[in-house]
């Protein structure tokens, strides 16, 4: 495990039509390149899971990869709405998108339960909201000790969990630092996983506050420098704020989005096929 491979081969092996796929990342270390590789490989009917879906999920939804989204916040951070996401929910374009909404803590606790091999998580949220009636995955549960009625949400165990990290060693051990969100939890909770990294090094020297994912907890590691762009990898790159601003205009319009898809993400497909021909 922790096998070092290419992004293309990892996605080809891990992601299948109809899979439940979680690409996680918060503020930085967002696995954008991996999401775009899923678009390139033409995966369909995915259930996408993420606490805070941003532009990479907008791109995947706009490209028709997803049939369902499980989330707690969906937006273009610092800019506004995700227009491809809204078009899918409001107008069913390019395909209808079912949504399952949770609170932030609900999502985080679902991953924690999944990582721990427990069937559900328990928390105090949700009581009194309309989510309870809309969502079969939110149920009341009575504390056996105090009698307090709380909420249970089932464990999340995605078929595929994908995160980006700073680096890995040649044995496939991964090291990340900065805001690590639920990186650890989603990798441990997922049946199979991929970590894209900025670089593969001989030795992981200690960093304050770093999280280590051991090679045996990870399916694949792929070296993808800049794989978090336009988000950043602390210590390696800066956030590309202009990209997020530009995405607003591109994503507002179906044709502009189509042109973007053809001229960026899909152009690499032709380049790859051209190499092989």
């Amino acid at each position: 495990m922790g096998e070092i491979t290419s992004l293309r081969d990892a996605i080809a092996d891990l992601a299948f039509d109809g899979a439940t796929v979680a690409l996680e990342g918060f503020t930085h270390l967002i696995p954008v390149a991996a999401g775009q590789e899923i678009i390139r490989q033409g995966r369909r009917d995915l259930t996408l899971v993420r606490m805070t879906p941003d532009i990479v999920y907008d791109q995947m939804i706009g490209a028709g990869c997803a049939r369902k989204l499980v989330f707690s916040w969906a937006g273009n951070p610092g800019v506004g709405s995700l227009h491809r996401f809204r078009d899918a929910v409001q107008n069913g374009w390019p395909v209808p998108l079912e949504i399952e909404e949770h609170s932030h803590a609900g999502m985080a606790n679902r991953y924690v339960a999944g990582a721990a091999g427990l069937p559900f998580a328990v928390l105090r949220g949700y009581v009194g909201t309309d989510l309870v009636a809309q969502t079969p995955n939110i149920k009341p549960i009575t504390c056996p000790f105090t009698g307090e009625v709380l909420t249970a949400v089932p464990a999340l165990n995605p078929d595929v969990g994908i995160v980006h990290a700073q680096r890995a060693d040649r044995a496939g051990n991964v090291q990340m630092w900065g805001i690590t969100g639920v990186h650890k939890e989603v990798v441990l909770a997922s049946k199979r996983s991929l970590v894209t990294v900025e670089e593969i090094v001989d030795h992981l020297d200690p960093r304050p506050g770093a999280v280590i994912l051991p090679h045996w907890a990870i399916t694949y590691v792929a070296e993808v420098p800049g794989g978090a762009h336009p988000s950043y990898a602390m210590g390696y790159s800066e956030r590309d704020n202009d990209y997020y601003q530009a995405w607003d205009a591109i994503s507002r319009d179906r044709d502009a989005f189509g042109d973007w898809l053809t001229s960026t993400v899909m152009r690499e497909v032709r380049a790859i096929l051209g190499d092989q021909a």
Binding site: A74, G75, S81, Q90, S103, Y126, V127, G128, T129, I179
Partner: protein
Amino acid sequence: MDASRAEVCVVACAEAWRGDGEILASPMGIIPRLGAELARHTFAPDLLLSDGEAYLMAGDTVEGWLPYRAVFGVVAAGTRHVMMGASQLDRFGNQNISAVGDWARPRSQLLGVRGAPGNTVNHPTSYWVPRHSPRVFVERVDMVCGVGYDRAGGRFHEIRLVVTNLAVLDFDTPDRAMRLRSVHPGVSVSDVVAATGFPLAVPDGVPETRLPTAAELALIRDRLDRDARRDREVP
């Protein structure tokens, strides 16, 4: 020194955290953020404030590390007071930030429930509405994300204040329906009533929202918001 409407709003937001002690203040929006910073610099020095990413800041000094994942522990422990936005808000303080229209096929899909279901039942929550209008203040919200007083909010539920560009509102009534607490200088009670899409509890003699002190104005203008970002949120 005449205070602008935005500056009155900053002070009104600051007042939401008065007396909270050593808790995490989580302001969403420019004016709530300035309000929390103003409170911290003046009458609420124990407040913990994030830099918006993962550091807890005391002015320019880092005083703690509170990454996203750890905030949920703080929420569950109740040692936090958030001021959130609201796309819709009803007379009992139910808040909607998820979708306008029918949830299954909304007219407008918004950003999602985010932390509202957990925030409102675990610790005090206040709301900031930069444009007070009947589109926001509605008889019934289309989807309850943050829990109001007519629902089972539980023992930690508290909707403290609603601050808008026109007024300050609270729920200090026998049936916990929304009440007009004060009107900002230059705003009449009838202005607020007209901009509210449900019958508002209006006590006799609604006071004016307090003006910023000279020291508070100096802090806002010369230290906290030299670029006048506040004027973009409330012109």
